[in-house]
């Protein structure tokens, strides 16, 4: 190609093109990221979600410039930054340990980046003040980091990064060290701040709840690859792989082959009167093996055989009943051979509760079955 195509108006903020990253350990190359093609949009709240060792942190560190890809290229706003050192990249990071400079005050910490860029003194003071207001730390300019709580230190780290108006803000499990209550509070706060400043946020976490709550889009990573990329609803309701179904929330998985199909639904017979009904695209043939995922809150639990069931029906024996206040969680050993977890809202009378050892019937609507990988 002799001419480069014109930059499209929807230029990705961050782009990975065929990126691979190996670490060398004892003379052997260990892949951390196997093959990554990814575009993160302007102003997006984007999460990299996965278990430890899945490559999410390595991916983030390649955006910051702390790691260089073994193969492939990384682009920031369309500019190839592969091999560019961290201090020459227009992104900023919030570290898991916060990494606040212990010998500097809050205001000096926040001003650090602006001073490096030789911003005028008066301008620095103004912007530091504004940023501390956004993170609700006004009046704490003179404090030392160690005199502050974990939540406050977190806000300082956030302000220190955001004050530079980076192209993207990278957050590496920033809420990991906070207790549950504070974490939930900061999740809402982070979302608010992101709306206010309008900067692309790339958020690394292993906490699926956190990712679902805050993200516009999520990339679920496993073993150095993206397993699924989509909105929180997509990923929760329509898991693309068995791994995603298991990692995000609780999934009931049942497999079998198609007994018959009609009008876009496949039916998997599971015994006399028992079946799993699942919507499928055209072309799924009789006899094909399917793996189906059902979320526990979509299932209705009956103590007597229900009549006129149009969707799926499985019977089973209750093996565990756990009371959770708003819901009761049942584990049911089903006739299909797998254990099902059912979340039952506690909306009915206390007497109407199945007990351990009781035979129960599980039903759910056809659209709540989801075939994995079809």
């Amino acid at each position: 190609m002799t001419t480069s195509p014109p930059t499209p108006p929807t230029q990705a903020a961050i782009e990975f093109v065929s990126v691979r990253k190996d670490y060398v350990s004892h003379g052997e190359a260990v892949p951390a990221v196997r093959s990554l093609d990814l575009a993160i949009g302007q102003g997006e709240f984007f999460s990299l979600l996965g278990p430890s060792g899945c490559g999410k942190t390595t991916t983030m560190r390649m955006i910051a410039g702390f790691e260089d890809p073994t193969e492939g290229k990384v682009f920031l706003d369309g500019r190839d930054v592969t091999g560019v050192v961290p201090n020459k990249r227009d992104v900023n990071m919030v570290f898991q340990s916060y990494a606040l400079f212990p010998h500097l005050t809050v205001a000096q910490n926040v001003a650090f980046g602006l001073e490096r860029r030789k911003v005028a003194k008066a301008e620095i003071t103004k912007r530091v003040g504004e940023m501390l207001e956004i993170v609700s730390l006004t009046g704490m300019e003179k404090r030392q980091p160690k005199e502050m709580s974990g939540g406050q230190q977190q806000r300082v780290a956030l302000a220190r990064a955001l004050v530079n108006h980076p192209r993207a803000l990278l957050l590496d499990e920033p809420l990991g060290a906070l207790d549950l209550k504070l974490r939930q509070q900061m999740q809402i706060e982070l979302k608010r701040i992101q709306r206010e400043v309008g900067i692309t946020f790339v958020y690394v976490t292993h906490d699926q709840g956190e990712a679902l709550t805050m993200s516009d889009r999520i990339a679920v990573m496993n073993n150095g690859r993206i397993e699924q990329l989509g909105s929180p609803r997509d990923i929760y309701e329509r898991p693309a792989t068995r791994f995603v179904a298991g990692f995000i929330g609780t999934s009931n998985l049942v497999d079998g082959h198609v007994s018959w199909s009609e009008q876009g639904y496949a039916v998997l017979e599971k015994g006399p009167g028992e079946r799993v009904v699942v919507p499928v695209p055209a072309g799924v043939e009789v006899g094909r093996d399917l793996e189906i995922s059902v979320r526990p809150e979509k299932i209705d639990l009956h103590r007597a055989m229900p009549a006129n069931v149009t969707g799926s029906l499985l019977s089973g024996i209750v093996t565990e009943v756990v009371y959770h206040g708003t819901s009761t969680n049942y584990t049911v050993a089903t006739s299909a051979g797998t254990d099902f977890v059912v979340f039952d809202q506690n909306a009915h009378d206390a007497e109407d509760v199945a007990t351990r050892g009781e035979r129960v019937y599980l039903t759910w609507a056809p659209q709540h079955s989801y075939p994995i990988g079809v």
Binding site: A64, F66, V85, P86, N87, V91, N92, M93, F95, Q96, S97, A99, L100, F101, P102, H103, F112, G113, R116, R117, R160, A161, N164
Partner: protein
């Protein structure tokens, strides 16, 4: 059982005070005999109280000159060993590089090898290289044995540093040089200062290596050694007291500073 515990506590008290006395008694005697008014050449038995040695502390020119030389060498050693040791300590604590293991070993070898061996080796080296002995050779020798102490103190501090501090600085646009001076150095400064103090203290009272490398130059310890045969003037006690007082003063200031920072 409680009786046993009380007895144990008493023994511990007694033991502690004994240990403190063991440490302080010689220093106390040195200070006390700076106020003695001996009749003869020997300042060894208590004769009476006087302040005249404090008034005439610099009356003996040779002793004063020796002290000035020692102070000069100690300051030079502290500065040079401080700068070199900080660099070595940072490199060893922060990076793994070809030869870092060997360098580590060398640090401890320099500390543990006998002074007699080092002194005589240094002397033959200076002679064969052709550097005439004096302040230069003494300073080179002192830097050589004290740089390891600075490096080890600094290395220990650098190893406890959160690595993401450097990444955070780089992320905020700081070059390697700026990161060191704006972030790393201020944080490890207390360790650097204790290394510098250590180098100063090691240098100012070193005798064995100094004796080998001094030539005709007189340092404070060398002069005292020479004078013991003809009787030590009480000025030596006064100067010793002053050096001791300065050391205590530094320790107290350092302690107060670290306390006020924590508070």
């Amino acid at each position: 059982m409680s009786a046993l515990r009380i007895n144990g506590a008493r023994v511990l008290h007694a033991y502690t005070w004994l240990l403190i006395a063991w440490l302080i008694l010689p220093i106390g005697v040195m200070i006390l005999f700076g106020f003695n008014d001996p009749s003869g050449r020997y300042n060894q038995t208590w004769q009476g109280f006087t302040l005249k040695w404090y008034r005439d502390v610099f009356a003996l020119d040779a002793l004063t000159d020796a002290l000035v030389v020692s102070l000069l060498i100690a300051v030079l050693t502290a500065l040079i060993a401080g700068a070199l040791g900080t660099g070595i300590g940072y490199a060893l604590g922060r990076f793994r590089f070809r030869g870092s293991g060997g360098l580590n070993l060398l640090m401890f070898a320099a500390i543990s090898s006998p002074e007699l061996v080092m002194g005589s080796s240094l002397l033959s080296m200076f002679v064969s290289v052709g550097i005439s002995p004096g302040v230069t050779t003494i300073t080179i020798a002192h830097v050589m044995f004290s740089v390891s102490f600075v490096a080890i103190v600094v290395r220990a501090r650098v190893m406890t540093l959160d690595r993401s501090l450097e990444e955070a600085a780089a992320d905020l646009g700081a070059s390697g040089w700026t990161t060191f001076w704006k972030v790393i150095f201020p944080i490890i400064l207390p360790a650097v200062m204790s290394g510098v103090m250590l180098a100063f203290a090691l240098s100012i009272d070193d005798f064995v290596i100094t004796n080998f490398t001094a030539g005709t130059t007189q340092t404070f310890p060398l002069w005292i050694w020479g004078a013991t045969r003809v009787g030590l003037p009480p000025q030596v006690n006064v100067m010793g007291t002053m050096i001791f007082a300065a050391g205590v003063l530094f320790a107290v200031i350092a302690n107060l500073r670290s306390r006020s920072k924590k508070g």
